[in-house]
Amino acid sequence: MTTASRMPDPYGSGGGANLADILERVLDKGVVIAGDIKINLLDIELLTIKLRLIVASVDKAKEMGIDWWEDDPSLSSGARRREITEENERLKRRIADLEADSAGSTERELESAPDGNTEKA
């Protein structure tokens, strides 16, 4: 019943499955159960900087402070996002300035009003 009748020929076993395909499964998936030899694959120093960047998730890499690709627009949209962030900062500062200006006048208005919002239930 669990025989291999009617299975299509394997794809990828002849070379289509690349190292990344294999590592992302063998190293990152599959059942984790403690044997007698305790190795935490995430603690491995290597998995070389290469693997850390490539196989380890981006979040994990960021936790480790590896984020150089962020500045490279060809590798990620992070650089583009950064531009937007900077623009946002500029706009926020501008809004803060404007608010500071108008806050002065609002305060004056409130002072001249007969009663502010001092009533509280």
């Binding site: 299509p8 990344a20 063998v26 190293l27 159960i33 190795i39 070389t48």
Partner: protein
């Protein structure tokens, strides 16, 4: 051909407590408790847990880390697929050092994977993560014992299912128009020079954008339609060309859990959804894999 044709029973009347593949190994004759005579320098590498199965592993690919066919260690209604490995390589310290070596890691991962693939031709194995290692056979039995509930439920859930990988790559076409340096610019400030440069840039950007849009549409359709033919879908992180050695940009890396019986139809579906005439979008199918990416599905769900 399929392994079904090669089904035979090299040892009729296999004793459930001995190892199906290598009865001549001295340690397999030992009583399950204790392990007198077990070489101190040998450990047990466990590739997978399966239900007892009939049939033999295909010759090619059916060789483990020691170059021999893996042993089947029966314990109750479960089977551990193991190879003896030297402690000099697989004990904690040397293993840690080895795992830092990408070549060693790649070779070990490939062997692990070959054994799992061989197993998928005769049963539905539950693949364990790389480098699951016990001191001796009784350690392997303890492992089967302690993980029994998990193994049994996962084996039931995944019985008769395989995993197919589907990836999409885009190839950004190189700029069709000559770059500004090569362009026969009459003179930098000739009327129209700047404009034609900008037009070229714009045209290139449009080509790139439409290629990206086409790839996006292909990904969406694949994901939508294939998810319907699959029991579960998992999206893997996109692969980096430096490790995969693949050109083009990986824009979809998905895995689908499919019943064996439906595999042919699934593969057909992938073919049908693959754009045949688009050089900039490539679809790649890998499999059938053991259901690596689905070993934890349903573990927290109540089914």
């Amino acid at each position: 051909m399929t392994a079904a044709n090669e089904m035979n029973h090299p040892q009729s009347g296999t004793n459930a407590e001995t190892d199906g593949r290598a009865p001549a190994r001295p340690e397999s004759q030992q009583a399950p408790s204790g392990h007198p005579g077990l070489p101190e320098d040998e450990l047990r590498y466990v590739y997978a847990v399966t239900r007892p199965f009939e049939g033999v592993l295909p010759e090619e690919g059916g060789r483990g880390l020691d170059g021999e066919p893996p042993r089947l260690l029966h314990h109750g209604d479960l089977v551990a697929v193991v190879s003896p490995v030297p402690a000099a390589d697989f004990d904690e310290a040397p293993l840690k050092a080895h795992l830092e070596d990408l070549d060693w890691l790649a070779e070990t991962a490939r062997t692990h994977q070959r054994v799992i693939t061989a197993l998928t031709t005769v049963t539905s194995p539950l693949p364990l993560r790389l480098a699951t290692i016990c001191r001796d056979d009784s350690g392997v039995r303890r492992l089967l014992e302690s993980g029994r509930a998990r193994f049994v439920s996962a084996l039931d859930r995944l019985d008769g299912r395989v995993e197919w990988g589907v990836k999409v790559y885009t190839h950004t076409p190189p700029p069709a128009a000559p770059s500004p340096e090569q362009a026969p610019a009459p003179s930098a400030d000739a009327p129209g020079a700047g404009r034609s440069y900008l037009q070229q840039r714009l045209a290139h950007r449009r080509t790139r954008e439409t290629a990206a849009n086409r790839a996006d549409a292909v990904c969406r359709r694949l994901q939508e339609e294939l998810s319907q033919s699959a029991e579960h879908t998992v999206l893997h992180r996109l692969q980096d060309g430096r490790l995969s050695g693949r050109s083009g940009q990986n824009v979809l890396n998905a895995a689908f859990l499919v019943p064996r019986a439906a595999s042919e139809a699934f593969v057909e579906r992938v073919r049908a959804l693959t754009p045949g005439d688009d050089e900039s979008v490539k679809v790649e199918l890998t499999g059938p894999w053991a259901p690596y990416s689905f070993t934890d599905i349903g573990e927290e769900e109540p089914t």
